[in-house]
């Protein structure tokens, strides 16, 4: 469902991704591990279309369609979701109205009518419960003054609401305590199905102990140096990257 071919990416004229090749099949969970500066987050931002990430050459197809020519919002509407390592604050915008607006943007692209307010509240309650999110969080401003755990849960909630086919998680485990990690991982596991693929970017084994990957890729200097199954993650955890 996602094919990355010979991808070269520069950021501020520095080459970060070098001839990267990666194939991700439907329903598969791929973990990407690697030391700081190896290009893990760059792949996430490039796939999502962040403006300062320049694709010099290469090709990316999502569900058979060229991804790189699309604007970031079109990539989202086409089923790509990036869970941010540091979710952004939107002062003055209440979480509930924001969530409703992004849901409606996706409905609009499917030529559906905007969601009814009562219906939305029902869904929001249901999905918030799954993540242990209190409803009063939704009357606060998006991510403003949220704890690290609240921010990450809010990302997973959006993932759940938008029903994406490819989910990229950029260090979702950072800033989470053990309990929050567990709740978040359980919620993510519920989102796993045969149609949906995941790229989980992480430094540590601990998230992968809850969400079992089908493949583990080790990144170094902008390309994959080793691929294996989940045992590779345990080995790295014990031995390090070198």
């Amino acid at each position: 469902m996602l094919e990355i071919k010979n991808l070269n990416v520069t950021v501020e004229e520095k080459q970060i991704l070098k001839n990267l090749n990666l194939n991700i099949g439907k329903g598969e969970v791929h973990a990407i591990m690697g030391p700081n500066g190896s290009g893990k987050s760059t792949i996430a931002h490039t796939l999502a279309g962040k403006p300062s990430y320049n694709v010099e050459s290469g090709e990316v197809n999502l569900n058979g369609k060229d991804l790189l020519s699309k604007d970031p919002y079109e990539r989202s509407l086409n089923g790509l979701f990036l869970a941010f390592q540091y979710p952004i604050e939107l002062p003055g915008v209440t979480n509930a109205s924001y969530l409703k607006q992004i849901v409606n943007a996706h409905r609009k692209s499917r030529k559906e009518t905007p969601i009814d307010a009562g219906e939305f509240l029902k869904i929001l309650k249901e999905k918030s419960k799954l993540l242990d999110i209190p409803m009063d969080m939704h009357s606060r401003f998006v991510n403003a003054g949220f704890s690290g755990g609240e921010k990450k849960k809010n990302e997973v909630l959006q993932m759940d609401l938008l029903n994406p086919s490819l989910i990229i998680m950029d260090e979702t485990d950072s800033g989470l305590d053990v309990d929050a990690l567990k709740t978040t991982a359980e919620a993510i596991n519920k989102l796993r199905n045969d149609e949906r693929s995941f790229i989980i970017i992480t430094h540590y084994l601990r998230l992968l102990e809850y969400i079992e990957p089908d493949y583990v890729h080790v990144f170094q200097n902008g390309s994959v140096i080793e691929t294996g199954d989940k045992t590779l993650a345990s080995r790295i955890d014990q031995e390090g990257y070198s």
Partner: protein
């Protein structure tokens, strides 16, 4: 990026720019005693009103146009303007809506202000002012039953002369400054509101100002009096056709709140801002002032300023009554070549007076946006307090934002708190929203609406949604 959505937006830009094809009757161009006499005659005014106008005109001859605003203003030829224009054969305001020219009703319908009783917004009474005359006022009788007077000021001059005489010019003196004095000489129509003692006005009162005729200035005058222990919420809206010429709008608004009374005055200003090259648009030079005359009185100004080529207004409060409160909540948005110089004056005269200023300036394109304010504590203003917060948001790199807060303090027991921030919409915020499926325009409008939220939520509920949309539309085409 996003070419499709941007094109879609440009097409729906300033949807109020149409002209109503209606024959008009004008008093010949020019500013002289003859014109003032004619205006007064058209309005069937009593002698005292004409004398008042003429005294203002006399003062005007020795006054000149103020030049201190941070705006580049083309010189205005005051002799080359029409000062009075009304639909033809408009001798007297129709007694019922059935007698109003259908073209006028259609105009307001198109502007989203239906006047026919079966369609009107429940809970909102409207006075519709077209060029120099009021063409219809809804719910007048119903309000009358509880003693609330809501009518065009020209009607009030005839029917309630004792009230008008007592209060007109009591907040903005005839001699105040050039544009205020000009208005006093040539004012045409506007609204008059009187809320009797102890009455909480059960409806929103609103006036909708429409400029239609070309080369014509609009000089409305509004007077609102809230008697002891009363409350009223009033809202004004304004639009004008798209034209290459600049048109002058110079209004005077006076508010008087007696003991324990409260007036909430909201403005959604959407005059034609000119085109993307800065051609045309309204010169909006307005004097708005409220007097908290009685103890425990309160006046609150809320303004959403999105239109006009140049906006130049400082809705102010004179806090004379002890324990009185003045508030100013403002969102001013400028795009393309618009210029806004707006703010407030809070004059603390009484003991324990309080004021609060929240100003949100948003500049985009090549526009210039200035907050200018004065907080003044007089000797007797013991324990007076002010809080001021001025935030500016820049969209793009070619616009300007200025903050000029002045304070004068002659009281030694008072306190002033001032906060100011300037920020830019961050690329990170835009990217975050776009990653969730919002296009760039939608993302920007979400962030800007968040920035203005504190002020937008002060608007009467019926208008808050409309104002949010207006905020988004005003910034169209500013995404880079």
């Amino acid at each position: 990026m996003n070419k499709v959505s941007k094109d879609n937006f440009t097409q729906e830009k300033y949807k109020y720019g149409f002209v109503t094809e209606i024959e008009s009757e004008k008093i010949p161009k020019g500013l002289n005693e003859e014109v003032i006499r004619l205006i007064s005659k058209k309005k069937n005014e009593p002698e005292w009103m004409l004398d008042w106008r003429l005294s203002a005109f006399k003062r005007l001859e020795n006054m000149s146009v103020p030049k201190w605003a941070k705006a580049e203003i083309d010189e205005i030829d005051f002799q080359d303007l029409y000062y009075y224009s009304s639909p033809k054969d408009f001798k007297e305001k129709p007694k019922s809506l059935d007698a109003v020219d259908p073209k006028l009703l259609e105009t307001y319908e198109k502007l989203g202000i239906p006047l026919k009783e079966q369609k009107v917004l429940a809970g909102v009474a409207v006075d519709a002012v077209f060029d120099s005359v009021s063409v219809a006022t809804t719910f007048k009788e119903k309000l009358n039953e509880i003693g609330v007077i809501f009518c065009p000021i020209s009607e009030a001059i005839q029917k309630h002369p004792e009230l008008v005489k007592k209060y007109i010019g009591s907040v903005i003196p005839v001699t105040d400054h050039f544009y205020a004095t000009l208005n006093s000489a040539v004012f045409s129509d506007g609204s008059f509101v009187y809320i009797p003692k102890g009455v909480k006005c059960p409806m929103e009162l609103s006036t909708y100002f429409r400029i239609n005729a070309s080369e014509t200035g609009q000089f409305e005058r509004t007077l609102i009096i809230a008697d002891e222990g009363s409350y009223v919420s009033y809202l004004e809206g304004c639009t004008a056709p798209m034209r290459d010429e600049n048109q002058l709008h110079a209004a005077n608004v006076e508010l008087v709140a007696l003991d324990d009374a409260e007036i909430k005055y909201s403005t959604v200003q959407n005059w034609y801002p000119g085109d993307e090259n800065g051609k045309g648009g309204i010169y909006n030079f307005v004097t708005k002032r409220g007097l908290c005359k009685g103890k425990n009185s309160k006046i609150s100004w809320t303004q959403i300023e999105t239109g006009s080529a140049i906006t130049w207004k400082y809705p102010s409060c004179i806090l004379r009554g002890d324990n009185s409160t003045g508030e100013f909540y403002s969102v001013a948005i400028t795009n393309n070549y618009q210029q806004a110089d707006t703010g407030t004056k809070m004059i603390h005269l009484g003991k324990n007076t309080k004021s609060r200023i929240i100003s949100k300036g948003i500049s985009a394109g090549k526009s210039s946006n200035t907050y200018r304010g004065l907080v003044s504590f007089h000797k007797k203003a013991k324990n007076a307090k002010n809080f001021t917060q001025c935030d500016s948001l820049l969209v793009g790199s070619e616009c300007k934002a200025n903050t000029i807060p002045l304070t004068e303090n002659s009281s030694n027991s008072s306190s002033i708190e001032h906060e100011a921030t300037t920020s830019k919409i961050s690329d990170e915020q835009l990217f975050y929203c776009m990653q969730r499926g919002l296009d760039e325009e939608e993302a920007q409008s979400l962030i800007v609406n968040g920035f203005c939220k504190e002020v937008l939520q002060k608007l009467p509920m019926e208008f808050a949604v409309e104002a949010q949309k207006l905020v988004s539309i005003s910034l169209e085409g500013s995404v880079g």
